[in-house]
């Protein structure tokens, strides 16, 4: 399952798009095997479009927490060698299974990211990247509890959704305390506010600190 291509920029019909190589799945624009990664539909896509290095490299082994309908997962799978896609809710899982049909390097797991022991017998250790986009309270705790899957040189790409932590606390305060709590176990490399398509979200790129 080695990949010859990563992601890149490409002009499609006069507009520059971030693209990955693979079969289209959600009506995205395509050009000679490449398909556009819509930043309005994917938080990871929108962060990559802002030239942030999130550690998504060719042939990476990835754990994706909060896989949802598999829109972003499909692009990650175009680049990575294997994607363990954890999703808790049965309805989006149906869509994710559809996406996995055309991408056999996606391992769909109907599991709760808050309980990594329920999938530690499946997901391997020493992964290159954890992508976390989970709409629940305790997002930082999930990142800390899932650190054991990460290789010492791996990276964490974490989306903090302020509204899921608490609807009434100002997002700025939530971001600040999230970064503080995460710093106990991870070295923060970069933080990035998301564009207007994804309100009240912050992306954090981090590396695991040695225990």
């Amino acid at each position: 399952m080695t990949k010859s291509e990563s992601y890149q920029y490409l002009d499609i019909r006069g507009k520059t798009h971030l693209v990955t190589k693979g079969l289209p799945i959600y009506g995205e624009q395509t050009k000679s095997g490449w398909r556009a990664w819509d930043p309005t539909r994917s938080k990871l896509g929108s962060v990559l479009a802002q030239d942030v290095d999130v550690g998504l490299s060719k042939n990476a082994k990835v754990l994706y927490l909060g896989a949802a309908n598999g829109t972003t997962v499909s692009h990650v799978a175009d680049v990575a060698s294997i994607v363990y896609a954890v999703e808790f809710s049965p309805q989006p899982m149906r869509d994710l299974l559809n996406v996995a049909r055309s991408r056999t390097n996606i391992i769909p797991l109907l599991k709760d990211a808050r309980h990594p022991q329920t999938y530690s017998h499946i997901v391997e250790s020493n992964l290159d990247l954890i992508i976390q986009d989970v709409a629940t309270r305790g997002q930082v705790k999930i990142a800390l509890d899932n650190k054991k899957f990460l290789s010492p040189t791996g990276k964490l790409f974490l989306i903090i959704k302020a509204r899921s932590e608490n609807v009434v606390t100002p997002p700025e305060l939530i971001f600040k305390s999230s970064i503080e709590d995460l710093s106990k176990s991870y070295a923060i490399l970069q933080t990035q506010k998301l564009t207007s398509h994804h309100k009240d979200h912050m992306a954090i790129v981090a590396e695991p600190l040695p225990q």
Binding site: M1, I82, P90, Q91, M93, R94, L96, L97, A100, T104, N105, I106, I107, P108, L109, L110, Q117, T118, S120, H121, I122, V123, E124, S125, N126, K148, F149, V167, V168
Partner: protein, 282 residues
């Protein structure tokens, strides 16, 4: 390779040729910490190449995810939620079409308000215009929609005592179904605090309150029950609190045991009498 570690692996004791046995191990297994499962699988003889390992994992994982997703969605309380939502859709569409029909009829026959009379006048009129058929067809559609809605209501009424006996006895089948549908499932409803159950269906008002822009809502959909709607407004908050308290106990009994406990309802009735006997203030 440590045998003890291997025992936790999803592929330990699964037949490589049998996708289903892998799926069951994926569903039911657990482990404290992950290990290098792929290389252990090769050593253990579960697969001969990494590609073969991942391909077997893929097949079993897809099977497991599909099966467990179906198990979660195929439950009676989920079907009842769809039934009550469909019922609500029917009545919304009925209302819209009724408004359309009476507007059209008014212009066409000059008779206002009384739909039945004007429909009959069209149906019996021997001087048919080419509009008639369409107006009558719209009318028939309305009858058919209301018929479907009533059938669904009967279905919900007959199913709910099996799905949630206590909740149904207390709230009535339609409100009980509506509470389950808003919460997402009987399990989710049973796990909500009664204060949340009290304002289910009043989310906009609740969040306006949490943001400091409004007073807290007294009740959500439970308002449709006569315990609340037929109580003096100044006492509705009290009744809503007592009602939702008992409803959440009912939901918990329904979810965890499923047997009817009639005392619960009589306790509520006593409580409601007490509150109402205070009389409403001006």
């Amino acid at each position: 390779m440590n045998e003890k570690d291997l025992e936790h692996a999803w592929f330990y004791q699964t037949n490589p040729e049998d996708t289903l046995s892998g799926a069951i191990a994926i569903e039911e297994g657990s482990c404290i910490s992950p290990l290098s499962w792929p290389s252990m699988a090769l050593e253990h003889g579960y697969a001969t190449t990494p590609d073969e390992y991942y391909s077997r994992l893929y097949n079993s994982a897809c099977e497991a995810a599909q099966k467990s997703a179906l198990n979660l969605t195929q439950t009676p309380d989920r079907q009842i939620s769809h039934a009550i939502r469909t019922m609500d859709d029917y009545s919304r569409i009925e209302n819209e079409l009724t408004a359309r029909l009476s507007e059209w009829m008014g212009d066409y026959t000059g008779i206002s308000q009384d739909l039945q009379t004007s429909i009959e006048s069209i149906a019996t009129n021997s001087n048919h215009s080419h509009f008639d058929a369409h107006i009558l067809s719209l009318h028939n559609q309305l009858i058919s929609l209301s018929d479907k809605r009533e059938k669904l209501a009967h279905f919900i009424e007959s199913e709910m005592p099996n799905i949630a006996p206590n909740l149904t006895q207390m709230a009535g089948p339609l409100l009980a179904a509506r509470l389950i549908s808003i919460a997402g499932s009987l399990e989710k409803l049973a796990k909500k605090p009664s204060g949340t159950l009290q304002v289910l269906g009043a989310e906009n008002a609740l969040f306006a309150h949490l943001r400091g822009r409004a007073t807290s809502p007294k009740h959500g959909v439970i308002y449709t029950h006569e315990y609340i709607s037929k109580t003096h407004p100044s006492l509705r908050g009290n009744i809503a609190r007592a009602f939702s308290g008992k409803l959440s106990i009912a939901a918990r009994i329904d979810y965890y045991s499923g047997t009817l406990n009639p005392e619960l309802h009589s306790e509520l009735l006593t409580k409601i009498d007490q509150i109402r006997s205070r009389g409403g203030s001006k």
